[in-house]
Symmetry: C2
Subunit: 426 residues, 2 copies
């Protein structure tokens, strides 16, 4: 139900990854119907026409449909379709934080009474796992506190205000230009979106019915560029934090700008990224960090929930998959290409560098920088550090051997590989 940003992603990936999903779910997963408002609308992603309908009952009444995926957003019709699906014995996967924050308990009660599952990993932090770790992996623990950055729009604005001394208005309009903020930004910048998500996490963590209206909420529009400068001077950054803490039998929930120490992990979460830290009695403090919004990452969460439901109905429920389906070669370290840091102790005399750079040059190892670090009078030696551009490991190992054999070189201090993540997809 819904063929917007998320719905299109789900429809596309269900088709693209059909074989993969059948393998991991233990059964085929088929898209059987798509609810849209306007069946005639031109779309970038165009699923098969015969799947599309503007009549919800056609989908709800189809006995062959086991799972309803609600990705329409909004409140009223989404909630009524979810409840109707449950009453008809259909499982539900939803990405709807508003509905889950306001009516989550009613929905889960109905699901329990009707023996169906309702899953909503996508409603908080999109594809970054947080609902499932809270519900499964950390189930042994008592949770004392959850805090985090769970709205990407405001984190983008705060990052720009902090790193580039922009005003709130400048940063907001840039975020709007880049598609990170909506033209009606109130929901994000006033903290409402974060309050929905915090209400969901609190209900899960503390098993207490809370609503978004129980969350004290303050937005970021009042912040001034000077605050960021002064905060940095004092050793802090400013983040829109969402915090839920349990004090004995009372829960405190709040969303507001906060000063956080510069060296805290959460202070280093930048741009549109999200992070949530969960404090537990046994497993300590655990931080989850990743994208919190976007079509594909939300699709990842929605489909993983679908797979979980499919697995639970087959023999493969909750099974860690260690079985092999790829014949893959192990790459030798010699074929690695990376940058290198090389520290050498050499004779402090002319001509030594020429010998070293000749060896590197002949092996096609290109030098990014050479710095002489220290000279030792006692034994006329000097310490130099060489940073290379991306080079081949085998060539580098050969070079190190040849350099070590030079009479003018006392010692290879260190050869350390550099991982600057610059070639990583991001």
């Amino acid at each position: 139900m819904g063929l917007g940003t998320v719905g299109s992603g789900v429809s596309k990936i269900l088709a693209h990854k059909k074989d993969h999903l059948e393998k991991v779910a233990g059964r085929p997963i088929e898209l059987r119907g798509i609810l849209v408002r306007d069946t005639g609308k031109k779309r970038e992603h165009q699923p098969p026409k015969d799947l599309i309908t503007n009549n919800a009952d056609e989908i709800l009444a189809n006995p062959e449909i086991d799972i309803i995926v609600e990705v329409m957003g909004g409140q009223k019709s989404a909630f009524s379709y979810i409840m109707k699906s449950i009453s008809l014995g259909k499982h539900v996967v939803t990405a709807n934080k508003e509905v889950m924050a306001r009516f989550g308990t009613d929905i889960m009660d109905a699901a329990h009474n009707n023996g169906v599952k309702v899953m909503f990993e996508a409603s908080v932090c999109a594809g970054t796992p947080i609902i499932s770790p809270l519900s499964n992996d950390l189930v042994t623990n008592n949770i004392s506190k959850i805090h985090g950055i769970i709205n990407g729009t405001t984190n983008y604005i705060l990052t720009r205000m902090s790193q580039d001394s922009m005003s709130f208005e400048e940063a907001l309009s840039e975020a709007q230009r880049l598609g990170f903020a909506e033209s009606e930004p109130a929901n994000d910048i006033e903290g409402t979106d974060a309050a929905y998500k915090l209400a969901i996490l609190s209900t899960l963590a503390f098993k207490t019915r809370v609503m978004d209206s129980d969350v004290y909420t303050e937005g970021i529009s009042g912040l001034n560029p000077n605050d960021f400068i002064y905060a940095e001077d004092l050793g802090y950054r400013i983040k829109l934090l969402s915090i839920a803490a349990k004090h004995n039998s009372r829960i405190q929930m709040r969303v507001h700008p906060a000063l956080v120490p510069t060296n805290a992990m959460i202070a280093n979460v930048n741009g549109v990224l999200n992070a949530v830290e969960i404090q537990t009695d046994l497993a300590g403090r655990i931080l989850f960090h990743g994208q919190g919004a976007g079509s594909l990452t939300t699709t990842s969460a929605v489909i993983s929930d679908i797979v979980a439901i499919a697995r639970s109905r087959s023999d493969r429920k909750y099974e860690v998959d260690f079985r092999l389906d790829a014949s893959t070669d192990i790459e030798d370290i010699h074929s690695l290409n990376t940058k290198y840091y090389l520290r050498l102790i050499v004779n402090d005399m002319p001509g030594v560098l020429a010998q070293i750079t000749r060896i590197l040059g002949e092996l096609k190892i290109s030098i990014a920088s050479i710095i002489q670090k220290a000279a030792y009078q006692t034994n006329h030696s000097a310490e130099i550090v060489i940073m290379t551009h991306e080079s081949n490991e085998q060539s580098m190992q050969t070079a190190v051997k040849l350099i070590n054999d030079l009479e003018t070189v006392h010692q290879i201090g260190s050869m350390i590989r550099v991982e600057d993540f610059s070639t990583d997809n991001s």
Copy 2:
């Protein structure tokens, strides 16, 4: 099987959290036998005597036992007990990274053929979820790369070498004194332990049989304090990284010290903490950060695996739990106690500060620092920043109102709460 650090934790928490575990698992979880080498040994944690045996067959032959928990460590007998349990139709939960890295595929094949589950969340990063997110939450994704800090001992040593210019030997002996390193530290400092864990993660991510011996491994004992200083100058920190990447049909796996950019999240993982980043095609890059070793956190993972197996055999399999079992009050924001940052624009004239500090003093808000930030000639105003000690929110809001009413105060620039996490349990 096993009553060492982890086994004692599991035995203790199964007793302490009996009711909680029965609720979340949907059935009681009972400890029915404990295998030890020496039944007469005095132990800090002493479970009921009649549970303890030194005869493995007593446990294996007991038809009432559904799940074997293997927390003995080591290779040979652990592996044979795991295989025997599987052949007898018992589920297995293990924390044994060595066995899973070397024989994981055989074990999972046997489990599949015998219709039982083998779970091993505790084998990598203890209670910080990583096996389950890879197997369940991220199941829709193709994984292209995993990298991280998965050995706490070496990360502690590297942190001390970096932050306090210690030599490797000094840092190692401190780690040994504090119990973070063993008296025979080779397994950690040579990278062997990390290679076990990386082999497990690679098998899960790439569905290819890999062993610890397939991982190129280099330890940290050759690093020199100068390397940390020079690296910092160049904008890097030194970490023992474990990296597994897929290039088309080839997998590259390596554990070695690496320079990582200072501003990368992974560069800011300090002390005994662990972090793993997973790169996916849909959900982007996701980082998991937390404790990687310790009795209670490992216990958290072991028991969550037990609960997962118990749930899969009941009606509650894979169910997100939103049902309420606590009557908890919501705390008003007024009862919050925290530190505050206050920015004011005031008349640049004597006596103003006295008025402000009097208001704060009367409301029992204690000042940590006052800094005059800027003076504006044009309108004779000055900007001042006040940091308070921990104070009450209601008092603070009253203070802000009273300060705002002062004729000498032009404007309350900002009032931002400070979260320095100093009161958090950690």
